[in-house]
Amino acid sequence: MRVQSIENLGFKVVNLVYHLGAMTLFGFQVLRATVTPKLRFRRLADEVFDVGVLSLAIVCASGAAVGAVLGLQSYLALVRFGAEESIGALVGLSMVRELGPVFTALLVTGRAGSAMTAEIASMKTTEQLDGLRMMSVDPIDFVISPKATAMFLVMPLLNALFISFALFGAYVVGTALLGIDGGSFLTSLETSVNFDEDIVGSFIKALVFGTMVGLLATYRGYTSEPTSAGVSAATTGTVVIASVSILLVDYIITALWGF
């Protein structure tokens, strides 16, 4: 029994390395399909709609809510030291540096990433990908590449919207509910958030997360089992693996960026 579980563990580790390699090679294929003609702008626009526009509601609503909560909590913590005017700096820095990119990536993974995987996996199950190959259309060029590119392009935009809505939520809570001066909120925000250090780092994170989630979601859809159980396994796996990877890579980027 014990030897069996060690064999299983060994198998899982080797499997992980295999999938990592396969995903990298898949990524190169997607990259090649993206940059070589024929450039499919119509498809890209459709995918940006599916990934970006349809995620607007969740990103903006969550942004405002997270900003409001963060504003309230920081006020309760800072008011003990008489430093409640720094609330703008606290909310701004935490949103821009960490919460903005990570939250946006997690929300978009849950909404658009799972939809992407499910769509591609069910296309594989219903043999639509094979149908495309029959018509001499590369499914990676026609289906995968626009989806992955859309995710890459949309993530920084949604990141910016999330952070903006969060700052707005914190501002409203601060001025209307807690009686903080709006001017000092904005001043402390603007003097402490630096473009070179913070904003650029935030968008680099968003771009990296966008590539990761785009590749992961499309890869899992493309390599799923062509059964209905396979579709659901691929979809849930995408959300789980992408969420954990986002948090791990977030630490790595933060550590590298800080030095």
């Binding site: 008489g82 430093a83 910016a160 630096n194």
Partner: protein
């Protein structure tokens, strides 16, 4: 896949709004400015600058008129602070620059007090009178020393 003008409009609007948010964050919050080389550049040398950092505000009578550009050591090992000030401001050449703290826990900033001369400072000139940053530890040490001497 139906070609719908409404869809395309939605995508275009979304990208516009997203880029607008990026621009707002970069310019307004992040402080990236396309203010060209039109600012008034002035220098001041201090013995002690405390916690003064680049992008700290420079104010006259409490009104922000510019920001600290850089802080370096000059050949006498004093701190030389370069400031970018609004070009429209006319500062007499006997104006002074002091480093003050905004509130108890606040950041350091440079407070400029205008002088009384007629001649104004031009870009590249240095402040003749400066006031160093107050160091709380030195004040406390001085107080303790003086109090100790009084007791004897």
């Amino acid at each position: 896949m139906k070609v719908s003008p409404v869809r395309d409009l939605a995508v275009g609007l979304f990208v516009l709004v997203g880029l607008g948010a990026v621009a707002y964050l970069s310019l307004s919050v992040g402080g990236l400015s396309y203010k060209g080389p039109g600012g008034l550049r002035l220098y001041a040398s201090f013995d002690e600058i405390g916690g003064l950092k680049p992008r700290a505000p420079v104010s006259i009578s409490g009104v922000k008129v510019g920001q600290v550009e850089s802080v370096e050591l000059d050949e006498f090992l004093r701190a030389r602070v370069a400031m970018d000030i609004d070009q429209k401001i006319e500062l007499p050449i006997d104006s002074s620059a002091a480093i003050r703290t905004a509130g108890l826990l606040g950041d350091q900033f440079v407070a400029v007090e205008p002088g009384a001369e007629e001649q104004v400072m031009t870009s590249g000139e240095e402040f003749s009178f400066t006031e160093n940053a107050l160091s709380i530890e030195r004040l406390i040490g001085k107080f303790v020393n003086d109090a100790g001497l009084d007791e004897k």
